[in-house]
């Protein structure tokens, strides 16, 4: 019995169709039953992405699910809330913990409130923001939301909707921190938050009792902007999401559009993209390593990491003219073919980086202070990483195999041999070493590809105006911080109807509270460094 029949027998009221993925549509009242069935009976324990939708008449949510045994095989669950005035849906955050923050985001963007979600504050916007920006009828009048230069007090009250026994819904408020707690604000401007993240941390002496993350200090409304941009224009915004995996992000969106158009991509392009992806990954991991060392007080190590990163940046510079934001992938190929010296440069870089990795390990990994500060600290179990969908090196350090390069091979990854770096300890040291090991794994991939770049076109001609056929598409790549997905819903226009980027960083922030409890302040900083979140990617 295949999956579709199985689901049909378990959920007779659901509509099931085979689009890009198996899509199950359920009514609002059947959502809980469908979610529980999928989670418990069919083993879909990963909620890859939770997307709010505005279908014009009704609001709704799209869930992308998979099982941890096969993270690449995705099933889509859809539901709708017809009431536009006061839309409410049941939460799924008791089934998939990652839903909590995502549902808060959907509330801020669409106004859908989730019954039984313990925390119904707006995630990315201020509590007093007027309107729901991702709704189609959003009033963008700047008069409604004027620029406010006065800092408001942060409220520690959070509302929640509790379902009573008789089926009615009651709003309740509870306190996150009590008055007696010693609360320290780490961020928004803090050297160790890697951008503008805001943690409210309750302390007991040096030990951490609770962490409450506040997001949105760099929420730029990229998803809304994408809805008014054509597909080629949209590409530029993806680079600026997780700017350290600029190239991978753009690879994902290009792939998504190309697959929707059913465009045949030349092998040469695939090779070039893969090579650039891996170079970006090394640069990103090097920066993560540097910043983590700096956060732990080793400033010299930071400078060494940045020095090696510059070598990759000069390769980027020669190839596409950009250092950080490469703007290299475009729909149908790459902006410009690689330069004749590219292979030579990369081949010179590989042995250099291998040598430097040894040095980095010698000066930092082997250091007794560093080792003691990382080992056994910030333990994240495999269950937690799956529940919160912490993918990427951080999740793999806990034993959650989520590498999209393995599970949904794209580009030239099906042609190379490489190991998914897996560890089981799940502590800060495991996350730290997973990154360093991934650098050498990436070097191996590059080594296998660099001499075999096939001849051919570097760009396929596309139509001047790109219109995607009606439908929903989602493509995945393995970015430096985890699985990055691009979801495009098209109505056949030249602009997309809805675009959602699956944030690789949001789960990382979501787990901070749980894994840093009872650790010291200094550990929180080290844990943050080892998780390596990039805030614009979380806030989008």
């Amino acid at each position: 019995m295949d999956l579709q029949e199985k689901i049909a027998s378990l959920l007779p009221s659901a509509t099931i169709e085979q689009a890009q993925y198996l899509t199950i549509s359920v009514a609002k009242n059947d959502l809980r039953k469908a979610a529980e069935t999928l989670r418990h009976q069919l083993g879909f324990d990963i909620l890859w992405s939770l997307t709010g939708m505005d279908w014009g008449t009704a609001l709704g949510v799209v869930y992308h699910l998979a099982s941890s045994a096969k993270p690449g095989e995705i099933v889509v669950l859809k539901t709708q809330a017809e009431d536009r005035e006061n839309p409410m849906l049941h939460t799924v955050c008791d089934l998939w913990a990652t839903a909590e923050l995502n549902e808060r985001e959907v509330y801020a963007m669409f106004g859908i409130r989730f019954i039984n979600n313990p925390d119904m504050r707006k995630l990315l916007l201020n509590e007093n923001w007027v309107g729901f920006p991702l709704r189609k009828d959003y009033n963008a009048d700047p008069e409604l939301n004027p620029l406010n230069l006065h800092s408001d007090e942060v409220s520690d009250l959070r509302p929640k909707l509790v379902e009573q026994a008789d089926g009615t819904v009651k709003e309740e408020w509870d306190e996150i921190f009590t008055n007696k707690e010693y609360i320290v604000n780490i961020g928004p401007q803090h050297p160790a938050t890697h951008g503008v993240l805001h943690f409210r941390v309750s302390l007991d002496g040096e030990a951490i009792k609770k962490v409450d993350p506040h997001l949105g200090y760099i929420h730029r409304g990229i998803e809304r902007m994408c809805e008014s941009l054509t597909y080629p224009q949209m590409l530029h915004l993806t680079d600026r999401l997780d700017y350290l995996s600029a190239h991978m992000n753009r690879h994902a969106i290009c792939m998504c559009v190309e697959n929707a158009l059913q465009l045949e991509i030349p092998e040469r392009v695939k090779y070039i993209r893969t090579l650039m992806d891996e170079l970006t990954r090394i640069a990103s991991h090097l920066l993560a390593w540097s910043c983590m060392c700096m956060d732990m007080g080793g400033l010299t190590a930071f400078i060494y990491g940045m020095r090696d990163r510059e070598k990759i940046l000069s390769i980027f510079d020669d190839t596409c003219g950009g250092r950080l934001i490469t703007n290299y992938n475009i729909i149908g190929g790459v902006m410009a073919d690689i330069k004749p010296g590219f292979q030579k440069q990369v081949k010179e870089f590989i042995p250099y980086m291998r040598k430097m990795l040894k040095e980095h390990n010698a000066i930092y990994t082997g250091n007794v202070i560093a080792k003691n500060r990382m080992t056994g600290i910030g333990h994240m179990s495999r269950e937690l990483s799956i529940n919160q969908v912490v993918s990427g090196p951080s999740g793999r350090a806990s034993g959650f195999s989520s590498d999209m390069r393995k599970h949904r091979p794209y580009g030239a990854y099906d042609k190379v041999k490489f190991n998914e770096i897996m560890r089981t300890e799940g502590d800060t040291f495991a996350r730290y070493s997973a990154r360093l090991e991934e650098i050498s794994a990436s070097l191996d991939i590059i080594e296998q590809l660099i001499d075999n770049i096939p001849e051919g076109q570097s760009l396929v001609k596309t139509k001047a105006v790109i219109r995607l056929p009606e439908g929903e598409y989602m493509e995945w790549v393995e970015a430096a911080r985890g699985a990055f997905g691009v979801y495009i819903c098209s109505k056949g226009e030249k602009t997309p109807y809805r675009v959602k980027f699956r944030s690789t960083g949001m789960p990382l922030v979501a787990v901070v509270d749980e894994i840093s409890r009872d650790e010291k302040i200094a550990d929180l900083i080290a844990i943050g460094g080892s998780l390596d979140y990039v805030v614009p990617d979380i806030d989008r």
């Binding site: 939301n145 620029l147 408001d152 401007q189 200090y217 700017y243 400078i303 510059e310 950080l324």
Partner: protein, 205 residues
């Protein structure tokens, strides 16, 4: 790929004159020609020399530009050469805030507060097109379109993100600007006079 010649307002790159802010030095010369007390002038020069060569930036970055800001601090570009040695994490001890990245509505009050917490004399460098004009996010509902709506800006460094060389150039322009400042009251009077005169000239033109 062939690189086309860029045209700006109908002019090609060859026709556009690159102005290196020479007006700063002209301004200083004019100030001196108008007669300032020699003692006051020398003292001012000393003060400006001290300030201009010791500009400590605040560790502040919101997005992509922050990475390039870090690159400028690291080995290859090393802004310590110019006296930007110590990046301070506490705004009380910093001299310049490099607004590296997009400023959104939620961040605006924080930025304002950071600026207010800095001790005088303080300077602002708007780094990257986001801080200057909203950059690619100019049409977003949540992005402040010019950082100068929040705090006064001394130097704009365009780019997305600006290359480290560009930021270094921008910071050096800030140093030049700092060197034509006037600290002592006597010189300030003379400065006002010249400002008036310059305005008159502008009006005539």
């Amino acid at each position: 790929m062939e690189v086309k010649d860029i045209t700006l307002q109908g002019k090609g790159t060859k026709d556009i004159e690159f102005k290196d802010n020479e007006y700063l030095e002209q301004y200083l010369q004019e100030l001196r020609a108008n007669g300032v007390n020699i003692f006051v002038e020398k003292l001012d020069m000393l003060i400006n020399w001290g300030r201009g060569n010791s500009v400590w930036p605040l560790t502040f970055a919101t997005s992509c530009c922050g990475i390039e800001f870090m690159s400028v601090g690291a080995a290859r570009y090393d802004f310590a050469r110019f006296g930007f040695e110590v990046t301070r994490s506490s705004p009380r001890q910093a001299d310049v805030i490099v607004v590296a990245g997009t400023i959104v509505y939620k961040m605006a009050p924080v930025l304002k507060r950071l600026y207010d917490q800095m001790a005088d004399p303080k300077y602002v460098v708007a780094m990257g097109s986001c801080a200057i004009s909203g950059g690619p996010f100019v049409k977003s509902y949540h992005v402040v379109n010019n950082v100068c709506d929040i705090i006064p800006v001394d130097v704009y460094v365009p780019g997305c993100p600006p290359r480290p060389e560009a930021l270094l150039y921008g910071l050096m322009q800030l140093q030049r600007k700092m060197k034509v400042e006037n600290f002592l009251p006597d010189a300030q009077k003379a400065q006002k006079k010249i400002r008036k005169k310059l305005k008159e000239v502008e009006v005539k033109q």
